[in-house]
Subunit: 771 residues, 2 copies
């Protein structure tokens, strides 16, 4: 073909091709804030003799129902724990941040403004540094929101330590302190990561070190079932963060998960239902006042407008305008965040001191903004005839006194000098159309927009959801004010619509945004407007760039397998991208060969070939996994000759030996020491070989092979030859072979290929720099 | 293998095997109330030379964006039309049924009870017979709810006429008259079928007969894009029926669709958003009173309780009890419906007269129940201090006067002598705990339960949703009454929970039930209770039987491809089920051979083999479709010798020639007449052959092949041999080869196989009887 010829002519490209091969099995990615090697997950069922024996032995109904019930019980436990953790997050944040605000407010009441600033800034700095230090020194994987990592995991990419017990603890402690320190970061993302951690740890039967040998849990010791649990856990996290059970499930479905099925929908829904019940019970308990400052402030549920919302055709133009603005601002946000993150990554790689310095700078800057900017606002007289106290002295409320005299309040302080939750509630509240001046809102919007961008990349657990909701609410309200009498909608309602537009402009969610906001505000009549705004924003923003999570996933170097097939893939066949040389094993293979190949390559799957005299001609028997080979070598169940095995494998091995260990932990060939004598012996691979690997003929188009690879969520796809004359296997396709970077590097002269390749190179350059 | 040997020993089984083969390509199913041949849909992209040329010719961005925009525009049109149709349904039903009730009520006011009954029963009979006659004589496909047919379509099964213009018209007219005739049937199912029809007709560019030659629409002239449109249409139907945009999308996702992806989620959501906006606009228009009796009664939106719902731990036991009862009643409902339907099908097959007689009987019986049973209730004095008029004279309201004296009302008449919508509203309404007596509710529950079962199978468009919601609401309220002071919940709330439990007990939906009820009742605080009830009911009911739609699909004989893989499939390989002899073509084939094979077999896909001298050894070139062969034969682009083609195919053919025609319409080989001379000529199949068919090796386990077949939604799966010596293709797997009936017939001695086989035989027996 012309394409092949073009490639063969250019030697440098071929050289590069080989370089790619050697790299392809262990790619690097930025997990949290640590660069480490990632691996693919094995969702495929390895159908070997041993497994079949095992299945036959326990095919009774009791065992099957036990398995089914176990899954539901695990979901129940995930739900309960997620509810408790979500409650604990809020309880801790409300109390820590609450004490800080109460102390500072009291000082200001006593006119000790400088002291107040000192205490405010110092406590913020201490909290931020605590979060940054524990993250940087103990678990760098806990930095950031964790949503990109969870998304990558659900797509089939395993990174070490993302779901470890250490990460879990640091994520909880770090997120609580970071959010309490008034940094402009959210808690929803870290909460999702936390609950996903809990789910994964439950699935593998506890932490790596203290793993109980639970017989039941054996059933879920594979990547498929763990993925399901993590999916449920992720849904539970969002449900706990927003008290939005349906929104949580839909968020995972729309934004995170790569595969889905009805049963999983039910299990995820069950998990979030449990979360909701647990949260409700705990909040009911707190109504008695035993939870310190946790009360109205906790777990957001905004109840914007008790009265029925009414809107007419005349309200449509401002709503559409809001959608367009949201799309533009959202895509700009993504663009700027990308740039800032790249800059931060460069700083962070210089060492821990730089990381901590960066966090300290941002914390001090934030404290200055929050405390300093309210002084720009002039005091406003308290409105009459309202139920709320004015000015509010305590920690929450719409009317902060700040520096003002009695009967006056500072509208900017009501926005700045509050937790993010409280500020959102202020902005959403109805009947407060005159509470804020236009300039205050504008100033707050600009500050919030840019603080959100500069705060995310710090080495501390930090979410994006809350800043985005807040920023959206601000400009929503601003547009409501600018509309003035041209619109009959309440400004609180405009704030909700603003949040919807910015959420879908930045994160490109539509259904889940609508449902989450519906559940947040408890007002169903808003739904049509929220839907319209969300769809418009997403459409507008999609013209400029991709959604924020895909952007982060790409920035972090995760090789995410997209469902979408690029058009150039239709022009190539599988044979055009498959890479040789291929490592294969015989059905009965010499131990020395196995050890040598395992040591010299990083591959995780090897075709097993039966050759004469065992068969007429070389025949593909199946695929054996590195993981299983390591177990075989460890057990030293070797044969002295190359004759087929007489050993009863089911006596020597049980299926339990082959279950997958905990996430991110792998055995290494270097740990297995064999004598020279053993190296000369043989091992019969037949009983351990997956006899039903998926195969494609080498003439299959790459696009259709990609569809197969993605839909079945494979790790290895065997390529078999079209003609009979050659070996029974041409090569193996893995995730990396379908990455556009890889394909375009091999075939840069495809339509539009060169341009795309340059883009990819540019985007991955910096990662190579820092490795 | 032992399994094969066992089969070979039993000749009768082999005979049956062959019978199965000859039948396998055209299976019969009950579409609506007509038995007709069904076919599989082709979701696979046929990657042949012609298509590639076509793609290269129009790979410009403009065309791509045009395609994208077209899809969204089509969704917009579907949304608008669905909204209008949904509104029209309600407008017509409310007016027809309304006039009927007003006339009857007026007669009863004048004490002319016998006349009133006469008018009531006669008008019901006329309306029912109209619906039955047009359905039986014009479009039997329009009978029933249509949801099983849509579900089968989305799974890849095409039935003639299910989405035709004729079916659409009859479905609308029939459903309106059937529901207006006080038959105990719903409108949601038919509405879904109607909107799916609209979507399909739009996708194929209009009705079969008046198809406009629209160039743009060429892009969506394939089964994949049409499936997406029908998915959006189905969501729009539920959204229009319940004013539940999110519920509609989730219903399709949870219960109907077999495959799903994010883009489709957004498009479906966009469609339902449009529906909502259209409905709102039209209802606003009707507020001016220009829509006759359509008003409060139309489009249900119940607004159960304006005040905030409060509930405590003490309310959990009755709620759990309700869930369990719902599960039991729901599965019993499915069981009885199945039995009654089988009986009805036997009656219906005897001829149209029997069909109509059955409809007439049920109509008269229903009229007697609705008019007669209220006389059993004693009149109750009107409660004081209520805003509503008592007794209500008009057509809706909680307090029907019926035969009672002034200031009294008949509580049974309020339930019976109303449209289903109004009765549901009565049951859901809060603060009416004392409006109904226990015995009235119990009597109504029993009547509603059994009327629902006997009314569904008639030859008229009829849905299941509304009767199920109504029956559930009734026993929910009954349980609320029985609880008495043990529960603090309102009885209206109990009714909502009852509906939730019966819906998920019968239809086994959880997420969509919760969301639909949420959107119906506009009360978010109900959510946790509804979720708990739905999950419990589903779990309990799943112990007994399957959900009602799967049951109907099976009863109707649609070979639905399940996602779930039965355990016995793991014990078989693909080679064990693939059936020979196989029909193949050479790369350049004689016209006579093609015509002969097309005439003698019913297959839809044929492997194309290149043999020497065109290649060294026989090689699989690809798969050619019957549809494409027919186009080739029609065009008569033949060669005089077996030499490879010199004809420029792109000049002779355009991709437009190969687009799929309208749904359910197929070309036949018998329509193509060729001369004897032409029969001796050759045709080059290479440019029209799909060169990338999916293949599996014959040793692949059936379970994993099933996963591939389902996940990629294939129609044909080629089986290639393990060893080199034989022909390059062993056989083709189609949908029917994966059906448990087929597999178990070949291998009845598998674990548990015999028992299952007997079950299957029993369940499909009656279909064979009536064919």
């Amino acid at each position: 073909m012309a394409i092949n010829a073009a490639v063969d002519e250019t030697d440098p490209l071929l050289a590069k091709r080989n370089r790619t091969i050697s790299k392809s099995t262990s790619q690097l990615a930025l997990v949290g804030s640590r660069v480490c090697a990632i691996e693919s997950l094995d969702f495929e069922i390895a159908e070997n003799e041993l497994l079949n024996q095992d299945l036959r032995a326990r095919s009774d109904r009791v065992e099957f129902f036990g398995y089914l019930i176990l899954k539901w019980v695990l979901c129940f436990i995930i739900g309960v724990l997620s509810g408790c953790v979500g409650f604990f997050f809020n309880l801790a944040i409300e109390n820590i941040a609450g004490v800080k605000f109460v102390v500072t407010s009291n000082m200001m009441l006593a006119n000790r403004y400088l002291w107040a600033f000192g205490v405010f800034a110092a406590s913020n700095l201490v909290l931020t540094m605590f979060a940054a230090i524990i993250t940087a020194f103990i678990a760098p994987e806990a930095a950031g929101s964790g949503i990109p990592e969870v998304k990558a995991y659900l797509n089939g990419i395993d990174a070490p330590e993302i779901f470890s017990f250490r990460t879990l603890v640091i994520k909880i402690a770090g997120c609580i302190t970071a959010v309490s320190s008034s940094l402009h970061v959210g808690k929803a993302g870290p909460m999702l990561h936390t609950t996903a951690c809990i789910a994964s740890l439950l699935g593998q039967g506890g932490s790596c070190k203290y793993r109980p040998a639970c017989r039941w849990l054996r059933c879920v010791k594979n990547d498929r079932d763990r993925r399901d649990l993590v999916t449920c856990g992720a849904g539970a996290g969002i449900a706990a963060a927003f008290r939005a059970p349906i929104g949580g499930v839909l968020f995972v479905l729309e934004s995170l998960s790569s595969w889905w099925r009805s049963t999983l929908l039910w299990r995820a829904f069950f998990t979030t239902a449990v979360v909701l019940v647990v949260l409700r019970t705990l909040i009911d308990f707190c109504k008695s006042g035993k939870c310190g400052l946790f009360g109205k402030g906790g777990l957001i549920m905004f109840e914007v407008t008790a009265e029925s919302v009414s809107y007419h055709l005349v309200d449509l133009p401002p709503v559409i305008f809001l959608g367009v603005i949201g799309g533009i601002l959202g895509s700009l946000y993504n663009f700027l965040l990308d740039k800032v993150l790249r800059f931060y990554i460069h700083i962070n790689e210089k060492g821990r001191a730089y990381k901590l310095l960066l966090a300290a700078c941002v914390s001090i800057f934030t404290s200055c903004c929050l405390f300093g900017l309210p002084w720009l606002a002039s005091c406003r007289p308290c409105p009459g005839g309202i139920s709320e106290a004015c000015p509010t002295i305590g920690r929450s409320g719409n009317f902060k006194k700040f520096q003002c005299s009695i009967d006056h309040y500072n509208d900017l302080a009501s926005l700045f000098f509050n937790t993010i939750d409280d500020t959102i509630r202020n902005l959403y509240s109805a009947g407060t159309d005159r509470a804020f001046s236009k300039y205050s809102i504008l100033l707050f919007f600009v500050t919030s927009y840019f603080l959100g961008i500069v705060s995310y990349g710090l080495v501390a657990p930090s979410g994006l959801f809350m800043p985005v909701i807040l920023t959206g609410a601000t400009y929503g309200r601003l547009i409501g004010m600018l509309m003035g009498s041209n619109s009959t909608l309440d400004h609180g309602l405009f704030a909700v619509l603003g949040s919807a537009s910015f959420l879908s402009g930045s994160m490109r969610m539509t259904v889940s945004v609508s449902v989450i906001l519906l559940e947040l505000t408890n007002n169903l009549l808003l739904l049509p407007l929220v839907m319209v705004v969300a769809l418009i924003s997403k459409t507008v923003a999609d013209c400029f760039n991709t959604n924020i999570y895909d952007m982060l996933v790409k920035l972090k170097g995760f090789p995410l397998l997209q469902r979408h097939v690029d058009s150039y893939m239709g022009q190539l066949t599988v044979g055009d991208v498959v890479t040789a040389p291929l490592q294969m094993f015989n059905g009965v293979e010499k131990v020395g060969n196995i050890v040598h190949i395992l040591k010299t390559t990083g591959h995780n799957g090897f075709p097993v070939i039966d050759k004469p005299p065992f068969s007429e001609s070389p025949v593909l028997y199946g695929l054996v996994l590195r993981m299983h080979l390591l177990v075989l070598l460890k057990k030293r169940c070797f044969l002295s000759s190359q004759l087929p095995s007489q050993i009863n494998t089911s006596e020597q091995f049980s299926a339990d030996d082959f279950v997958k260990g905990s996430s991110g932990r792998r055995d290494s060939i270097d740990d297995i020491l064999l004598t020279a004598e053993e190296m000369e012996m043989f091992v019969d691979l037949h009983p351990f070989t997956n006899t039903s690997p998926y195969t494609v003929v080498e003439t299959m188009s790459l696009a259709k092979a990609h569809l197969l690879f993605h839909q079945i969520s494979l790790r290895h796809l065997l390529v078999i030859p079209m003609l009979n004359s050659r070996m029974p296997v041409v090569g193996i396709l893995t995730r990396h072979d379908f990455m556009p970077e890889h394909v375009l590097q091999l075939h840069p002269f495809l339509v539009g290929g060169m341009r795309k390749l340059l883009q990819f190179k540019k985007s991955t350059e910096f990662l190579r720099d820092i490795c």
